[in-house]
């Protein structure tokens, strides 16, 4: 019966959420190792987030609804694009925005590929990149936020997943 299935699905997903932080970290590490040739290291408990001046976002819709963000400095995002494209950081130019958005897209895609049963039932939006630090992000989410602090080539990087049940 459909209502029962729906309820069961939600309960299962809720139970699985405890495993999401390590899966999100693993998804990010795989993307950085495969596509950038860089290892992500665990970061400190907190960063000075005022220095973060670029954010990439990808929306998830379907079985999981929410938003995944990557936040760091423009300098770090530029380094990501140079490593991903095999060019000097000085040559990255506007490609940096697309490359940073693609990194976010791949982390979101790799994360959803790791959660059984949601892959076909969850779609990703095209990535959006915001520059600047003076903004606040409000998403229609009610299930808390998974946030992972990492270091990319010594640059601070925060990966967040906000989910709406």
């Amino acid at each position: 019966m459909k209502p029962m299935n729906t309820m069961t699905s939600k309960l299962d997903l809720s139970n699985e959420r405890e495993s999401w932080p390590p899966l999100l970290g693993l998804a990010a590490r795989e993307v950085f190792e495969s596509m950038l040739g860089s290892s992500l290291e665990p970061g400190p408990d907190s960063f000075n987030e005022e220095e973060f001046d670029i954010t990439a976002m990808v929306g998830l819709a379907g079985r999981i609804c929410g938003i995944l963000t990557l936040r760091c400095t423009v300098e770090a995002a530029t380094l990501m694009s140079s490593k991903m494209l095999g060019i000097d950081a000085a040559e990255a130019g506007p490609q940096m925005y697309d490359a940073f958005g693609e990194v976010c897209n791949m982390v979101a895609g790799n994360f959803k590929n790791k959660i059984a049963g949601i892959d076909d039932a969850t779609m990703l939006s095209v990535p959006t990149v915001i520059t600047g630090a003076d903004y606040s992000l409000r998403a229609l989410t009610d299930s808390g936020k998974i946030e992972i602090n990492l270091l990319f080539e010594s640059f601070p990087l925060i990966i967040s997943l906000q989910v709406h049940s």
Partner: protein, 125 residues
Amino acid sequence: MDNVRVLIIDDSSVMRKIVERSLRQAAINLATVLEAGNGVEALAVLNKEQVDLIFCDINMPVMDGLEFLQQLPGVANAKGAQVVMITTEGGESHVARALQSGAKGYMRKPFTADQVKEHVLPLLV
């Protein structure tokens, strides 16, 4: 196979560059690298150019990768071309639909040059 003519179809210009870079890192000898931002652009490219290998994203505006695959049998310049789908959407239904539509391989992002080599070399013999 030497002097491979490849068409890379992705709405992200960055991802097209990454695929090309991965092919070169995999020591695949590329004679020509053509690019298109969606299926319609790819069909226009194939009206003029013959290719041996096609890398195609699935989710693209205007014409997505699966619709492009369905159009491909009628394209003379793509006769014998091997198609590898490359996407973040790695669900089983996507894989099945792509393979049923004529794709010879399917790669999920993220990927390494070694994985590209592993997928592509058997298709080029």
